[in-house]
Amino acid sequence: MKNLTLRTKLLLLSLTLIGFLLFTGWVGQSRLSLLNRNAQVLGTEVLGRLLTAADINAQLFNMVRNQKNAVITNDDEESNDFSAKSESAAQELLKLTSQLEAEATTPEQLRMAGLLLTNVQNLVIINTDCLKYAKMNTTFKAKVILVKKILPALERMTLLIEQSEEMTTAVAETPSPGSIANPEKLLSLTQQLLSSLVLHVATQSMDPSFAAIDKATRVKVDEFFVSVSSYVDPHASIELQLNNLASAMRPDIDAFLVASSIDSNGQSTELSLIQSLASTDTTLKLLQEITKDARDTANQSVLESTYTYWTGSGVILGTVLCGLILGLSASVFISRMITRPVALVKSLAQEMATGNLLARINLKQGDEVGQLATATDSLADALTSLVGQIQQAAIDLGGSSTGLGTIANSLVTQSEQTSSRASGVSAAAEQLSANITTMSSAAEEMSMNFASIASATEEMSVSVGSISSAAEQTSSNVAAVTTAIHDISVSFEEVLGNVREGAHVVANATQMADSATSTMKQLDGSSTEISKVTETIKMIALQTNLLALNATIEATSAGEAGKGFAVVAHEIKQLANQSAKAAEDIATKIEGVQLGTRRAVAVIQEIAGVIKQINSTAERISQSVEHQSRAAQTISQNIAQANTGVGQIALSISEVATTANDMSRSIAEATRGATDVSRNVGEAARAASEISDNIGQVSHAALETNRSSESVTIASQTLAKLSLELTRLASRFKLPSHGS
């Protein structure tokens, strides 16, 4: 839910409400259709069934009434009329009952309708039977036959019999041919016949006694006719008349008997009164049941309708209430989901405006507002990292400036050392100069000594003859030479010592120069690193500028809420510009330092070259001096030999001459060596002065280095100040503790 977009949320809300609406509508629709169905049940089914039942009732009564009428009436025509009506009513009744059965919907109704149909069919059969009998109307017919035909016939017979009796009485005791033999018996038979016929017609055929009566009546009839036919005197007119009457009456009596036996009226009445009534009662009871069932169905339908109405309205009201509550809560929830993060973003922006970058929203919500919150968080993150980077850069800058200061200090120290070494070299050079001067004087002295040797030798050569006298002088001269040579040796050793000291100083100076060069190179490397750092700072400042611009754009988009943030963004932009300017300044300063350093390196390398030159010159001096030393030793040896030779002069003049020659050669050599020494000394003097010059240059370079170092120091101090300023500005923002 949290990570859905606002549109989806609103869509969900709308869908929920629409869903409730649809549900309400559906429930209403279904309830209404239920009500409609109930009404239809009430209207068509129940009402139809009730009407059908009423129709059945009416037809039933119509049928029964007509049946009764048909039974009651004696007129055949009327009877037929009524029975036709009853039949039609019965057919109608059957049809209605079948209709009722066809219209039955429930098994109960079907059962009752089936029962009713069976009953009605039964009733109709009974009715048909009843009507059949009613149409026959036999009892009435029998009565008619009895009254209209039999009774007059019997009366006439009675009359005839009575006439016969009178005749008999009148004629005599003997039977006359025209009278009846036994008239009393016949009369009583006639009376019995009449009474039995009346009884026959009065007794209903359903009566249990009817069979006996019928049998008795038939016996009586047979008896009567037998009795009548016994009078067979064809001549007797009465008998003839009686026989004629009897034979004429016989079909009537048979017809009467048949009619009376059938007793249609009685049967029909019986049927109508007992079976039909019972069947009608059953039918009516069934009809009542059906009506009651229909009423029950109606009542149930009404109850169901009421129930449907109440449940429907309950469900609709409940759904509407639920929808309202759910919709309200959802809208409150969604509006809270929107407003709360916005308030959080606002408070975060205010926090950021006051410089607190620690605050975060950390809202786990994926909709637009959540994205806004996340974007604000990431903005705060970016600001945090940016300010952290600025702080780091400031700290780095401070470290770099400190390193620069250290390097500058070491440079100053180094240059001072160089200066002091240079002055040491200067002193050594001066000493060298003095030594060289001493050497020069020694060499001059040596030269002079050589001259005196030469003159002595010449003198020796010239006055070989007077060697004896000159030998002593020679000896003294040789001693002087030896002394002089010894002096020279001492001078040489002194020179050698000075040269070695000079070489040592030179080596020291070379080492110092190398050290200075490497320090300078280190400084150069540091400057390059600082340049890189300043480049990085410039880049960061540019990026910060762009970021601040985008932040301003965002703040402007945020409208009134972004005003405070816009101020912060502006300040950051200014800070970035200031940083870029400071970095530019540092770069310029560093370039100056680099230039000075490179110049110092060049100068120091020049010094190193010069010192190497001095070194080589001093080595050459050393070689020359050693050469001279060897020459002086050779001289010394020669002189020692000369000394020995002088001692042996007396022994061999030629030996002396040879020795003198040798000596002459040696002296020439020594002279050449002395000249060499002189030349080398001159060279050394020139080198020394050159050293002095170079030393001066070194001093100058050292001074320049000093100046550059001071400039570097100033630059590094500016840098340190800027980094402090940067740190102060950055520290306005509260950052997570691990960042600092």
Binding site: L549, N550, I553, T556
Partner: protein, 155 residues
């Protein structure tokens, strides 16, 4: 026209200062690497991918017929999508945010006399800043100009 001081983002192209209302700008990006579009009008430099979003980059110098001074565009000023499809202007560099008031406006549509009718809708007015003049552009008319160019090209 401007009741309250309005903020404009200024940017430079061919040494001239232009500006658009800050409220119309989505962001300013240092990403100017364009993917060329074949058969596109000459105004269109290509597509630029800004954090996965594809932005149409237009060359301001070509649109305004500014002299090419050989400088490569360093910044892309991206406009908000409410003006139309997302697009950006390639500019040499982005300057300060300028606040302009009504009395600073020295010329607008009514008294601007432009030689080229194709760029007439692009310049809204000219404002006087303390040290130079600011040409305020109408961002929403850039894309129609490009479309017009496209139609002319296809014809």
């Amino acid at each position: 026209m401007l009741d309250v001081p309005t903020l404009f983002c200024t940017f430079a192209a061919s040494g001239r200062l232009f500006g658009v209302p800050l409220i119309d700008i989505k962001e300013v990006s240092a990403e100017t690497h364009c993917t060329p579009i074949p058969h596109a009008p000459k105004h269109v430099q290509g597509y630029v991918n800004i954090r996965g979003q594809i932005i149409l980059a237009l060359d301001l110098k070509r649109i305004l017929n500014l002299p090419a001074d050989g400088r490569v565009a360093q910044r892309l000023v991206i406009f908000k999508a409410k003006i139309g499809p997302a697009f950006g202007l390639l500019v040499d560099e982005v300057g300060e945010i300028a606040s302009v008031r009504n009395q600073d406006i020295v010329a607008d549509e009514t008294n601007l006399d432009l030689e080229s009718p194709s760029t007439s809708g692009l310049i809204r007015y000219i404002c006087k800043l303390p040290d130079q003049l600011l040409v305020v552009l109408e961002a929403k008319n850039f894309l129609p100009i490009v479309e017009q160019e496209l139609h002319q090209q296809s014809r």
